[in-house]
Amino acid sequence: MTTERERRFTGPRRGQLAFALGFLAISLLLLACIRDQTVWAAKTGLAAQPRFWPAIGLGAMVALGGLHLYRLPWRRFTRFDGAEMRRWAAALEYVLWFMAYVVAVPYVGYLPVTMIFVPLLAWRMGYRSGRMLAISVGFAVAVVLVFKMALSVRIPGAVLYEYLPDALRGFFILNL
């Protein structure tokens, strides 16, 4: 039966214990490194010490994170925690998609990679009709035109553009 303390907890039960434990463990690990990773300057006031603010931040993380763990109404892992952690791991797939996109742009070019990336991910997500794939290509082209051509955001030209004819190379590097 759900206890009063559990009922008043803000947020779902699944994953809370794992998160609180992980957060505290990492905070403690970072705090343990404080002597190696920061210096204590001689003849310097406390507020101007390079170690002062990391200590405040990590101190708050350890103290309040520890109290959060102590105040959690649950002390045991359940199968729902396991399922939740698998859900967190499932998001890693999209991190990989994103990083693949990041790595490919400097070599292949912003426009070509975006035109491949968006429909490919749309296909992976189950949008396989011709209409949705056409919309995704249109979206990819629009993003590149708006940001690189119109707003001139800084995305460098690709290695592949170097092989283009002289007349096209400059245009591609600057706008696409």
Partner: protein, 539 residues
């Protein structure tokens, strides 16, 4: 008058007009799509605005901030799903109105109330600007440090029920901002001898990860929903007339919005809650609230739209952002070497007034746009979730990569995206991390500068404003501790009430052992002991 004229002169440019239009239309569209929200849009657009003039860049971002709540009311009213988080209260009375066949009235009333809230707050602040200009120079390093500390404390205590983890996440923000080369002694902090960490972790990379990428992951891992929208017939102009019948509710709600917006860390939710409670308590028909009350809708929408202009006050006057969106805008100021704070009010007052006038024009533009284009706009709520996720992921790349063309930044952003995804799944707050980063940096710089002239700790609060701020901090902390104590007592009572057994008998005897062992106790116990069964034998 001269000030207003010179402010108008700043705004009389084609690029500012274009920014106003793009910001207002874009903001409404973004607000109307559930699952995107202004934070994602501002995070993505932030690096793109760095190449613009400060007034143009800020107008686009302010436009998105101010108009997204107008757009957020559309799905809140029509499909019972708030477009932005602050439109949650709009669903209480907006959707029941749609359910009983009055979607047009609800939308019209929401637009009118939002417009009133927006215009009221801008007018208040334009009138209030000379006072601010006089007060702002009283803030030196110590006062700004204390105001930032107050801001961070308010943000933490505002997350009721999650204060501990909000504080821990604010600590994480303070820690993240301290990573990299420390600017006074030039020593490395938490770089682990990695060159890509020596420059520190950029605020925008963290913002994009926590807001945009995490939202993309949330959308990509969710299911698409079938959405049925209601058909709208007739005009949308009746709301202004209906609003005029409730001037008290609208006026008080807008005032709450302005006041709450100015206090760092408080924002829309508290303003809405206070306005809604006030409207319900003073209404002749309080039973209608939550069932399609026009007063409830006015209170919610007026209060939340009065906040954006007011939220610019601590940012512009003291350089202290009160919430995540203004924290993002702070970076636009820094990129252009315009340092918000007391100096800005003394030297660039026309710029400040220009921003407020831009907000005023923006409200008018948004209202016109919505009155004309609501019917086609309703279709954007039908965009499938996971396709939106693909769009946000693609746009996030522009935001992160265009900053320094660094794959390491993208990797850090992806890491924060994953962390933000976990936080969102667990219903934990993200804003304390961002404010911890921004306010932590301000506190570090200002404390160092302030302590240089301080001999004893009490000297730190020997100036009137510093003393007042210090007292407010103490009051907030004491009030919070009292709240925690009351909550704990209430929890104990509730636990005791919900127990199937009245109490543990052994524990009860143990607590009363000293009384039970006295003579008086023995007498009372003897009286309650079951008396020997009366004899039924008849002799």
């Amino acid at each position: 008058m001269d000030l207003i004229l010179s402010a108008i002169e700043i705004l009389m440019r084609w690029d500012v007009a274009l920014a106003l239009l793009a910001g207002s239309v874009g903001g409404v569209l973004i607000g109307a799509i559930p699952g995107v929200g202004p934070a994602v849009a501002i995070a993505i657009l932030l690096p793109a605005t760095f190449s613009m003039d400060p007034i143009v860049g800020l107008t686009v971002l302010l436009g998105i901030y101010g108009s997204s709540m107008y757009g957020g009311a559309i799905p809140a009213i029509l499909i019972n799903t708030p477009g932005t988080a602050v439109n949650a209260l709009t669903t209480y009375d907006g959707y029941p109105m749609t359910a009983r066949g009055e979607p047009r009235r609800a939308l019209s009333l929401a637009y009118s109330a939002s417009f009133f809230g927006g215009v009221f707050s801008v007018l208040c602040l334009i009138l209030f600007a000379p006072v601010l200009a006089r007060v702002a120079p009283m803030f030196g390093s110590r006062e700004i440090f204390l105001a930032a500390l107050l801001g961070i404390i308010l943000v933490i205590v505002a997350h009721r029920g999650q204060t501990l983890i909000a504080g821990a996440l604010a600590g994480l923000g303070i820690f993240i901002q301290s990573i990299g080369l420390e600017p006074v002694k030039y020593s490395q902090r938490y770089t682990f001898d990695q060159t890509w960490l020596s420059g520190g972790i950029d605020l925008i990379v963290v913002v994009l990860g926590l807001f945009a990428l995490s939202q993309a992951f949330v959308l990509l891992t969710s299911e698409d929903e079938k959405i049925r929208t209601t058909r709208l017939r007739g005009g949308l102009f009746q709301g202004l007339r209906e609003l005029a019948r409730h001037p008290r509710v609208a006026g008080v709600s807008a005032s709450f919005g302005v006041l709450m917006g100015m206090i760092p860390g408080v924002g829309e939710f508290t303003a809405q809650f206070m306005s809604y409670t006030y409207a319900q308590r003073t209404s002749k028909r309080p039973e209608d609230f939550g069932h399609g009350s026009s007063e409830g809708l006015i209170a919610a929408e007026t209060a939340n739209n009065a906040v954006p202009a007011a939220a610019m006050v601590p940012l512009l006057a003291l350089g202290i952002p009160g919430e995540a969106l203004t924290a993002m805008m702070l970076s636009v100021f820094y990129v252009h070497n315009v340092v918000p704070g007391p100096g800005l009010f003394q030297t660039r007052m026309d710029f400040v007034v220009a921003l407020y006038i831009a907000l005023l024009v923006l409200n008018v533009l948004v209202l016109i746009f919505l009155l004309m284009a609501t019917r086609p706009l309703v279709q954007v709520v039908k965009i499938p979730n996971r396709f939106l996720g693909i769009c946000v992921l693609t746009l996030s790349f522009v935001g992160v990569y265009s900053l320094r063309n660094s794959a390491s930044d993208c990797m850090i952003a992806a890491g924060f995206g994953l962390f933000g995804f976990v936080l969102k799944r667990l219903n934990m707050p993200i804003v304390p991390i961002i404010l911890g980063m921004v306010l932590g940096n301000i506190m570090e710089v200002k404390l160092r500068a302030g302590m240089a002239r301080v001999k004893t700790p009490l000297d730190f609060i020997d100036r009137p404003v510093a003393f007042i701020l210090f007292c407010i901090i103490i009051i907030v902390c004491v009030a919070h501790l009292r709240r925690v104590w009351l909550d704990r007592r209430e929890l104990k009572e509730a636990e005791w009430r919900s127990k199937t057994r009245s109490t543990r008998f052994g524990g009860h005897l143990f607590r009363r052992r000293s009384y039970l062992s006295t003579e008086r106790g023995k007498t009372v116990r003897a009286r309650h002991l079951p008396s020997p069964r009366p004899s039924t034998d008849r002799d």
